[in-house]
């Protein structure tokens, strides 16, 4: 595996990542969400052509504790073969962002507590590495003892110690023939000192990169920024940095601005679940129309539709009843959904409780988010990341700013 930083803009950087499988892509990169190895609603055979960058997926080892068993994955020859996603990057992330909260419950020396298909249970090192080795991921995160920022100092210190010990233990259990694919976890939640200590320890290990944990758990945004900065300052520049739990556009921008290279995000799916299509503009060069600025929300639109420029609510009666809207979700979007279908059709599908609506929305939302990541990379290459971030966050202020991801912060 090779990772090379190609361009910088502030602390943000564009890199090229070349995996042992030969797959190559640019960072910062979005990891698409999977459950039991497959996308939640996007047909797997459509994933390859969804977008030029739709090549990298996240998966959770906790989905392979029982149902299916690690043995089933091993028998298939790894998660790529099991899910028939050869040609994709599969990155194992312990945290299941799709719904399972980190409560920072008791962890023992043996393992941490995770939500699984059979309820909450302690997952120990041997078990975790059995699954990781059976899955043969392209990259994998070491077993974390991840806690939110409000835990007592003692618990926080314990989580740093555990995480460091478990990193070493995981490394000792990794299959040699898979090479160095470990992303060592960095925790530290409520304390900058602990964060730095965790990062320092991880930095000395022989890993492919790092995974920053303990974010997206209700922490103050500014605090998060300090934690990212403090941690990354201790990490070598030439190794990958992943963060879990941060997924909204603003969180992505903050993370990238601090120097993060990989993020798994449930943001597209969260919008899809709320019947929203992602529509925020991607090009700061295109001036916003005065009409967009002046439009007021009407009674028709639900709270979540925000007549914001960010998303449209496909459940809204506007698309079918009064005014039949035969435009695509985003005019000019080249995704499968926008090339073939209209808002009124998706509205009709939602009214008829057809699951095709979710599939079409998820395809578009994923595509749009991959375009967002591409725009981020372009801005870094042009050394304009700061401007891009400022522009993006300021234009989000138009209309209401209710953002679905905020409701999912623990």
């Amino acid at each position: 595996m090779e990772f090379t930083v190609r361009a910088c803009s502030g602390h943000g950087r564009v890199g090229s990542l070349r995996l042992a499988s030969g797959l190559e892509f640019e960072t910062p990169s979005l990891l698409m969400i999977t459950r039991r190895g497959l996308p939640v609603v996007i047909p797997p055979e459509m994933l390859m052509d969804l977008h030029p960058d739709s090549r990298a997926c996240q998966f959770t080892p906790m989905h392979f504790l029982e149902d299916p068993l690690a043995a089933v994955v091993a028998k298939a020859g790894g998660v790529h073969k099991l899910a028939s996603l050869t040609g994709f990057a599969m990155v194992a992330v312990a945290r299941d962002s799709l719904g399972n909260e980190i409560a920072g419950e008791e962890a023992s020396n043996l393992g941490a507590s995770f939500e699984t298909s059979s309820g909450r249970r302690i997952v120990g090192l041997e078990k975790y590495m059995e699954v990781v080795n059976a899955c043969k991921p392209d990259l994998w995160v070491s077993l974390p003892d991840e806690v939110p920022h409000w835990v007592p100092e003692k618990r926080n210190r314990e989580s740093v110690d555990h995480t460091s010990q478990w990193l070493d233990h995981c490394l000792s259990l990794q299959h040699a023939e898979h090479g160095n694919r470990c992303l060592g976890v960095v925790v530290g939640a409520g304390s900058l000192e602990e964060r730095a200590r965790s990062a320092e320890q991880a930095a000395t290990r022989n890993v492919a990169g790092f995974s920053l944990a303990g974010f997206g758990l209700g922490e103050d945004v500014a605090q998060r920024g300090f934690h990212l900065e403090v941690a990354i300052a201790k990490l070598p520049n030439d190794k990958l940095r992943h963060v879990c739990g941060l997924g909204s556009p603003e969180e992505v921008l903050q993370a990238v601005g601090a120097g993060i290279d990989l993020l798994d995000s449930t943001y597209p799916y969260m919008l899809t679940k709320e019947c929203l299509a992602m529509t925020f503009p991607l090009k700061m060069e295109v001036p916003l129309r005065n009409a967009d600025r002046d439009m007021q929300p009407t009674p028709d639109h639900g709270v979540a539709s925000g007549f914001s420029l960010a998303k449209v609510n496909l459940r809204s009666a506007t698309y079918g009843g009064g005014r039949i809207d035969e435009t695509p979700l985003v005019t000019g979007c080249k995704c499968y959904t926008c090339k073939r279908h209209t808002k009124v059709y998706i509205n009709q599908l939602l009214n008829s409780n057809e699951t095709l609506a979710q599939t079409l929305l998820e395809i578009h939302n994923t595509y749009h988010y991959l375009e967002f990541f591409k725009a981020i990379r372009e801005s870094i290459k042009a050394d304009k990341f700061h401007e891009f971030r400022t522009w993006f966050t300021s234009q989000r202020v138009f209309g209401m700013t209710y953002d679905v991801s905020e409701s999912f912060v623990a």
Binding site: R35, R36, L38, P39, V40, V41, P43, P44, E45, D67, P68, L69, V72, K75, A76, L82, A83, S84, S117, R340, H341, Y345, T355, Q358
Partner: protein, 314 residues
């Protein structure tokens, strides 16, 4: 929909009766509870045809007075005669006869005489195609195939015959042997959502514990995307738990039905239809226990399946 292939719309009649609360049928039309706001709504033959004209499908169905197959008594006769009166209203209301083909639906319950009257009446209207309706309810298989046989015998040779609501592969093979051409059913996708895959041997229940360690594809003779990529063991963990499980098994089941249609079609064209039927039955009933109703139907269809009644030796 951006669907460039053929489309058929139903009249709404069956859905009203089967899915909605309190359908009241009069000469005027069907009164039912609106699924949107619960208020009473009336669907007349004219309404149904107008809506279908707007949707624009290639084949549209007449609104018929459909009764449950288990119904007996004068209601069955009333429904049959009303269906004939309604077909004339449908024909009159149809505003796009050169673009959309209006099919009539043969009713009459399980009564051969009523069916005959209905057949005669519909054939006299010289419609582009005909459906055999009122079946796929609670009737026994023996009654079912006899009605299908009677109708196919009484319908014109050169027009499509559509048996509504049929979807079990075995039923499709039998009806095809009896001279039917078209079928529709929720069965393949519905059974997929419950974790059952359609395979050459019958139905594979993926939820069964044995599937957890079965690393074969769903159907060894299937070339669909799902069978090329995934094992029973993996699908076992997905069905009834992930939306993707339903999607993948639905995909396979639909592929399976498409392949069955293709096989029926090409075996007839190539003059080896009886052989196909025999092979089909042998795979479904390796112990030779072909149901009596199938044997009787194949008798009438003129297909020798005596070899299917002998157990297949290992």
């Amino acid at each position: 929909m951006n669907w460039p292939r053929a489309l058929l719309t139903d009249s709404g009649g069956f859905q009203m009766v089967s899915l909605l609360h309190l359908a009241d049928i009069t000469e005027e039309g069907v009164t039912f509870q609106s699924p949107v706001d619960g208020k009473p709504m009336l669907l007349t033959p004219e309404d149904s045809i107008q809506i279908q004209n707007k949707i624009g499908a290639d084949i549209i169905m007449a609104l018929d007075d459909v009764v449950k197959t288990t119904t007996t008594g004068p209601r069955v006769e009333e429904a049959m005669y009303r269906t004939l009166r309604w077909i004339d209203r449908c024909i009159a209301a149809h505003s796009r006869p050169h673009e959309q083909n209006l099919f009539g639906i043969v009713q009459g319950g399980l009564d051969p005489q009523l069916r005959d009257i209905c057949l005669e009446g519909l054939v006299a209207r010289n419609l582009p195609g005909y459906a055999i309706g009122g079946l796929a309810g609670g009737e026994g298989k023996d009654a079912f195939w006899r009605v299908v046989a009677q109708c196919t015998a009484g319908l014109p040779e050169d027009k499509p015959r559509y048996v509504m609501g049929i979807g079990f592969p075995l039923d499709i093979v039998v009806c095809t042997a009896l001279g039917a051409d078209m079928y529709d059913c929720v069965y393949p996708t519905r059974t997929a959502r419950f974790g059952s895959a359609l395979v050459s041997e019958g139905v594979l229940r993926l939820t069964h514990a044995a599937m957890a360690t079965d690393y074969r594809p769903l159907d060894s003779s299937c070339t669909c995307m799902v069978c090329k990529r995934y094992t029973r063991a993996y699908l076992h963990t997905l069905v009834t738990k992930e939306a993707m499980g339903s999607q993948l098994v639905s995909y396979h089941n639909i592929s399976h039905m498409m392949q069955l249609s293709r096989n029926l079609h090409s075996s007839i064209l190539e003059g080896r239809f009886p052989e196909f039927v025999q092979s089909f039955l042998q795979k479904q009933f390796p112990k030779g226990d072909v149901p009596d109703w199938v044997c009787n139907a194949m008798d009438v269809a003129g297909i020798d399946i005596s070899m299917c009644r002998i157990p297949q030796s290992a």
